[in-house]
């Protein structure tokens, strides 16, 4: 199981929870499991999202591995100037 931390405004879409534990080996599997667990998250997951794994931020990176010891945070998709 990996523990996924949600950013504040995702809580409303996840029944008030700010962390969700799911079974996943990759970011893609994690997204799928999160969507099954909390369907309210699906639209956000589909519009694009960043994932911080141990402080490193990944955009659009389905096959990046996640493991039980990883610190995982979902973050909004980022665009710069």
């Amino acid at each position: 199981m990996v523990k996924v931390n949600l950013w504040g405004s995702l809580k409303a879409r996840a029944g008030g929870r700010d962390t969700i534990e799911v079974e996943a080996q990759t970011i893609r599997q994690m997204f799928r499991a999160l969507g099954e667990e909390e369907p309210g998250l699906v639209p956000v997951l589909e519009t694009g999202i960043s994932v911080a794994i141990d402080g490193q931020i990944y955009r659009d990176d389905w096959f990046k591995e996640v493991d039980e010891d990883s610190e995982i945070y979902l973050l909004p998709r980022m665009e710069g100037g």
């Binding site: 504040g8 141990d54 490193q56 955009r59």
Partner: protein, 750 residues
């Protein structure tokens, strides 16, 4: 990943300051920018823009314009594709209004004619029947229940309960950890304040310009100044309903962007006009159009509250940020919220942001979008709190600075970064320890930016004479081609002068994300290092063939293939030129490539220090001295790193002291020109001192971090802290123009 460092002294070319490869063209006037392109048979395109802040377009009659001699095409919204993907819809509607003009300057129709004079005349012959609607341009006003509504199909996202009525607030976001109420209860001293900032424009000197040439079968080419020609290709293809493979976009030299050229405005218009006229069409914006219809950044209304114990430990930080993004949803308020407290460690943090719609041009990214205004508010309160506690503001920052392993304001734990080093450097800097005169003040502030990676594709070709051509798909906005050449020279072990870099068109390389998020030197640079490693492997393989030994018995050292170890055999090392010269007979051209989605962009921190003097009679602020200290990871071309530091600081000085969008009661922009929208000029400024900190980014082979954006994050706060000290009153609104400073001083006396 990190395999070369300054400490082990391995760098030969990286870290030097050679002449840039595009330099001579740029000092002789030969470099071709957006408006410098001419195509045979080219027409002039012009855009008709709304004079109203908010108006229903009841009808458009283009018949008189079409009948004018010399007019070859007129287009309206009806000429763009009806089934544009949702992701591009707002971009299309921002180029040409669909049913409603949403701001002063919103495009309504466009013409192509044989001359500029005829095109201008034709614009006047287009009859638009407007029904003027009530408008709102202020962020706080737009949040009120009775405010004029921009869109009846936007409902606030991110609320606990689904809203049932549409709103100008398109979204609410929240970040943080802990329980701020608990944190404030533990505080001995609390400071809270409200802040306002006005919208500013990126202010690039080159107006948007392009030449489009699209044939009836949907095959076309586009020349334009942009930060991302792949983005331009994809957006234009979607809006015009053509295959992306049929549209070849070439990025011209770009005359500044700063985020403002990360979207499209005139490009689909030029292509649609060209398709209709059957000839190439050039569209060049006037400066008035640039101010009214492109950029700018958000204006903001903010509230910040920070509490600390009497020993100086911050216990809680809380913020509320409202950013307006113009007439379409999507400000950078999320990034404002995430970055606001990123420099600090506290057990309890909370930021809430609102994304607000008003009748202004759609906000575009501007250098570290969303971060500078939040930093202005937060860093002002941090300094005020330190003063109340009787602690030096720099010591207070050092005491509470976020370190590796601390939980960040945006969620995950911090990785290694150089914030503490920037503060320690500031503390020891001669600037910080120099006495001030009367009416003078010193301010410091810290700033943070994420930096991005993203999709990147590069190519490297070895020439028969041993020179190297490299192709990138990321636009060079500030000298990045020089950095690319340095990194390839370093990796191959060939002189810098033997490596030449071009920005390739969209048909020549795989997709490349836009030059944004300070990603280009990091992501294209790493792709080129990996392209060079790919090429080196092939070069070694050729040498192995020539020597008739196994490939693994050859290694690449200092620009030469040589036998690896005594068992490989006795051969004289072969240079890149020698191997390249035999390429034809050893297997053909030698090249290296790399395509990836770059990861590992390291965050970047800076500390800025500024002295100002306030004229007590007029309120005029003079910047006396300015020092930028920023972590660059590894400075590839230090002169251009310093340039990024200096340029960002001066844009911040403009934002702090002069620049603002001024709207009249009628909702029209009152200062759409450089005379009234005054960006800093040479005589306003001192030299901008810089200190480059090199705390290597472990996510890059040479330790490189992006440097382009962080430098605009601290300036407004640093200047506000300085001016507040000099004027003896806390400044909470930008710009700190003479009337505002004078009023604040008068109010404080009264």
């Amino acid at each position: 990943m990190l395999d070369k460092t300054a400490e082990n002294g391995e760098f030969k070319y990286v870290g030097t300051r050679p002449q840039r490869p595009d330099g001579v063209d740029k000092v002789t006037g030969r470099a071709r920018f957006g408006a410098d392109m001419v195509m045979p048979g080219m027409l002039v395109g012009k855009v008709l823009r709304s004079p109203h802040a908010h108006a229903k377009i009841k009808s458009i009659d283009t018949s008189a314009a079409e009948a004018l001699k010399g007019v070859k095409a007129v287009i309206t919204a009806a000429d763009l594709t009806a089934d544009v993907p949702e992701a591009e819809y707002d971009t299309m509607v921002n180029c040409i209004a669909h049913g409603k003009a949403l701001y002063d300057g919103h495009g309504v129709a466009a013409v192509a004619a044989t001359s500029q004079a005829i095109a201008n005349k034709a614009l006047k012959l287009i009859k638009v029947d407007y029904e003027v609607l009530p408008h709102v341009t202020d962020v706080e006003e737009a949040c009120k229940d009775d405010a004029p509504l921009l869109h009846d199909n936007i409902f606030t996202e991110g609320l606990e309960e689904e809203p049932t009525t549409p709103s100008n607030i398109s979204g609410r976001v929240q970040f943080g950890h802990g329980d701020v109420e608990k944190g404030f209860a533990a505080a001995d001293t609390i400071v809270e304040r409200k802040f306002r900032t006005e919208a500013t424009h990126q202010g690039y000197i080159e107006p948007h310009a392009c030449v489009g040439n699209l044939s009836a079968d949907g095959t076309g080419e586009l020349w334009c100044c942009t930060q991302g020609h792949y983005m331009v290709r994809n957006s234009c293809a979607a809006i015009l309903g053509i295959d992306i493979s049929r549209l070849r976009v070439t990025a011209s030299e770009i005359g500044g962007g700063f985020g403002g050229k990360t979207t499209i405005f005139i490009e689909p218009i030029a292509l649609a006009l060209s398709r209709k006229a059957g000839r190439p069409v050039k569209v060049v914006m006037t400066r008035d159009e640039v101010f009214r219809a492109t950029g700018p950044t958000s204006s903001a209304s903010m509230w910040i509250k920070i509490g600390a114990k009497s020993d100086g430990t911050i216990t809680a930080m809380e913020g509320l940020l409202k950013y307006q993004g113009g007439a379409f949803k999507g400000t950078w308020v999320s990034l404002g919220c995430m970055t606001a407290f990123a420099c600090y460690r506290a057990d309890h943090m909370k930021t809430v942001g609102y994304d607000v719609l008003v009748n202004r041009p759609r906000a575009a990214a501007y250098r570290a979008p969303g971060a500078p205004m939040a930093a202005f508010a937060v860093e002002s309160v941090v300094t005020e709190l330190a003063e109340k506690l009787g602690i030096d503001p720099l010591e207070f920052r050092l005491q509470n600075a976020a370190k590796e392993g601390d939980q960040s304001s945006y969620g995950p734990k911090h990785r290694a970064h150089g914030l503490i080093e920037t503060l320690e450097t500031a503390k020891a800097h001669e600037h910080y320890n120099t006495p001030l005169g009367p009416n003078q003040g010193r301010g410091i502030a810290c700033g943070f930016w994420f930096n991005f990676g993203g999709q990147t594709s590069t190519s490297l070709n070895v020439g028969a004479d041993g020179t190297v051509n490299i192709s990138v798909g990321t636009v060079d906005v500030g000298g990045s081609r020089a950095s690319m050449c340095l990194m390839v020279a370093e990796e191959l072990g060939v002189p810098y002068e033997k490596v030449r870099c071009v920005v390739a068109d969209t048909s020549s390389l795989g997709h490349n994300d836009t030059t944004d998020g300070s990603r280009t030197t990091f992501a294209s640079g790493m792709a080129l290092i990996l392209s060079a490693r790919d090429a080196k492997q092939k070069l070694c393989a050729r040498a192995a063939k020539i020597w008739e030994i196994p490939e693994e018995a050859v290694e690449w050292v200092d620009g030469h293939a040589r036998p690896a170890g005594p068992n490989a055999g006795e051969f004289d090392p072969m240079s890149l030129a020698e191997i390249a010269g035999k390429a034809e007979t050893t297997g053909g051209p030698i090249a290296g490539h790399h395509e990836y989605n770059a990861r590992g962009a390291g965050v970047s921190f800076a500390t800025h220090m500024v002295d100002t003097e306030v004229d007590p009679d007029t309120g005029r602020v003079t910047v006396l001295r300015y020092t930028v200290i920023q972590d660059a990871g590894k400075a590839v071309h230090p002169a251009y790193v310093e340039g990024q530091f200096q340029g960002g600081a001066v844009q911040g000085i403009g934002w702090a002291i002069n620049e603002e969008y001024i709207y009249g009661e009628d909702g029209r922009l009152q200062n759409p020109g450089f005379l009234d929208y005054r960006i800093p000029v040479a005589s306003d400024l001192p030299m901008i001192d810089t200190v480059i900190i090199e705390n290597p980014n472990k996510g890059h082979p040479y330790g490189v971090r992006g440097v382009g954006e962080t430098s605009i994050v601290p300036p407004m706060a640093a200047i506000a802290n300085s001016v507040s000290a000099a004027a003896g009153v806390r400044m909470t609104e930008l710009p700190m123009s003479p009337p505002r400073v004078l009023k604040a001083m008068d109010d404080a006396k009264a």
